[in-house]
């Protein structure tokens, strides 16, 4: 377990600061790990839909369980170079946050939710329009330009057509 948590800590630190104090920090973590798994780094977390999109309870427990011991163990570990492309791609996605969205967590919430609705929930039609429509129905009030951008980002990352099979419980 120490190894798994230390690995998670290394990854979260690589993506940005490891912060879990606020709700937005935790939403960011959830969505970032979801997207990283979609990009091919399977950390074995399995997601289902919760209030703000893809959510994994075990991931919540894991981030709370990262303590000094795991952080110090992580100093003896390094991420393998083979996952670097996926991490870089995730950082590109994060960097493409529209200026009219305040928080990175909101941006990742939008991108990951669109991906989840299309690939996991498979909303009827699984088209861009049906995903957009479903987003509204679940109370996610993003502007059309934000939704456009999220779809484009998913498309640029080759995540619109790529099949995923094992990210849900």
């Amino acid at each position: 377990m120490r190894q798994k948590l230390a690995g998670l800590y290394l990854i979260l630190k690589d993506i940005g600061d490891f912060k879990i104090d606020s709700l937005e920090d935790r939403v960011f973590t959830q969505k970032a790990i979801y997207l990283l798994q979609v990009l091919g780094v399977d950390l074995r977390y399995r997601f289902s839909w919760y209030k703000r999109g893809p959510y994994c309870r075990d991931l919540t427990f894991s981030v709370y369980d990262i303590g000094e011991q795991e952080k110090s163990y992580a100093e003896r570990l390094r991420l393998r170079s083979r996952i670097r492309p996926a991490l870089d791609k995730l950082k590109e996605i994060i960097a493409k946050k529209p200026e009219d969205l305040d928080q990175a967590s909101h941006w990742l919430e939008l991108v990951s939710s669109m991906h989840y609705l299309k690939h996991i929930a498979k909303v009827p039609g699984v088209s861009r329009e049906s995903v957009q429509e479903h987003l509204k129905r679940v109370g996610k009030d993003f502007s059309p330009s934000q939704v456009d951008r999220a779809w484009q980002v998913l498309s640029d990352a080759n995540l619109i057509d790529k099949k995923v099979s094992s990210l849900v419980n």
């Binding site: 290394l10 977390y45 399995r46 919540t60 003896r76 419980n169």
Partner: protein, 503 residues
Amino acid sequence: MPEDDFGAKVICDNVHGSIGISRLEQAIINTRTFQRLKKIKQLGLASYVFPGAEHSRFAHSIGAMHVMSLMVDQLKLAGCPYVCSDDTNRVKQKLRLAALLHDIGHYPLAHLGEQAFQWLDEVQNSTTFMESVDDDNSDNDLLRSAATKHESDAAKHERLGELILTHANSELQSILAAAEFDPGEIARIINAEDKDNPFYVQLMSSTLDCDRMDFLLRDSQASGTNFGHVDINYIISNMTWDAINERVCFLPKARNAIEHFVLARYFSYNLTYHKTVMGFELMAKALMYVMMKDTAFDWESTQPIVRSIDDIRNRIADDPEFLANFNDEYFWYYLEHWNPPSESKMLNDLRNSLLSRTPLRAIAEERAFISKGNDSTPEQFRYVSRDLIEQLAMNKDASVLLKDAGVELDRITTVERRIGLEGLPFSRRYNEREPKDEEFLKLIKIHGRDEASDLIADKGSILHVLCNYELRTVRVYALLDKDSEQATVLSNVVTSLVSKHSN
């Protein structure tokens, strides 16, 4: 398929009495793959404390099939259209098969072995994305890792069951296919993945499913504990069909019996979470994990020890007979033949202690009902939770006392367990449910005048109050020298830390 085929043979069961089985079920029960379940105990190492708890997954599987059959018959009476059609008996047979085969993928020592394999898979998976900068692969947090719940979908027993049912060489696959049943569909029903038939999920994987209804009675009877005297026949005879939402539900008069069932389920955790049973199970889990990882363990055998989930897949594909011996005895066989590295005194002590029935000692325990909706560990648990070892290491007086008594910190661990009532997910309160939230579909539903509603929404139900709480238990365990003062010293040190914290 005629109805009377379900009575082609009759089995006498100590819990349910006579159980009729069909010829197809008989063929399945007779396979070596299914007979394997005779050698997997239902309750892992509980028999170390409750001598009668020697019952197997085999008997439980047949019992679950019987309960499923009772439920399908009742739904037919209640007018559920899915079991009233021309091919009713085909549907009934399919659901009975799912119940019969629901545990077919269990590992040696059941959930305990499953946890060891999940742990192994977690670690092996993590090496795909990170590596060590030094060569230190020591397991100095072995006990603490063993005390953690491990999650790996690939290593779940349901996934192994799916593989056993569907792989090309499977004897079960060929028997099912010959009878024109789709093994993949049976696996989906077992894994609650048949999205087209949500009521299958209710029958197979909910608070009141065929699995729980059987094991509650069976575990209670076998272990000699009396919590399980629940009238499941009364509950099933009050099962009905909510035609509006197409869900299984229960008549209001069954409410008390259902509440009794749910509370009995809560008390049943006294078996699995018994302090001594858990002490043995932590040891067995750690040892199973270490043996699989020990590359020096090349003891010659016709069957070398399994090294990974992929290894299991390959062996099943190469040799259908492999599964027959993949049972509880598999673990004990390897444990007898394994020589832990001589430099690891702890591994040697762990192995010898388990073989001579000396458990980890439970030194301290804290338990409380916690209101759900709070992800963080409550303050009152912090001193015996994951920080305990650090606190012991940092506290000068404690360190000296423990050192003098010969208690090493890597031999101490804390274990946290959470018990919830009803089928609510941990940390989720009932009022947080979302429409069509699948996790909430598994809740018990009571049929009102017009349509059904969740039992826990009823303010007159005891579950309405209790469902928003969970029992949190934290224990301190240690591997200590037998007949020494170590337990007393450690207990005093922990108590002292606790009182300091409380003040």
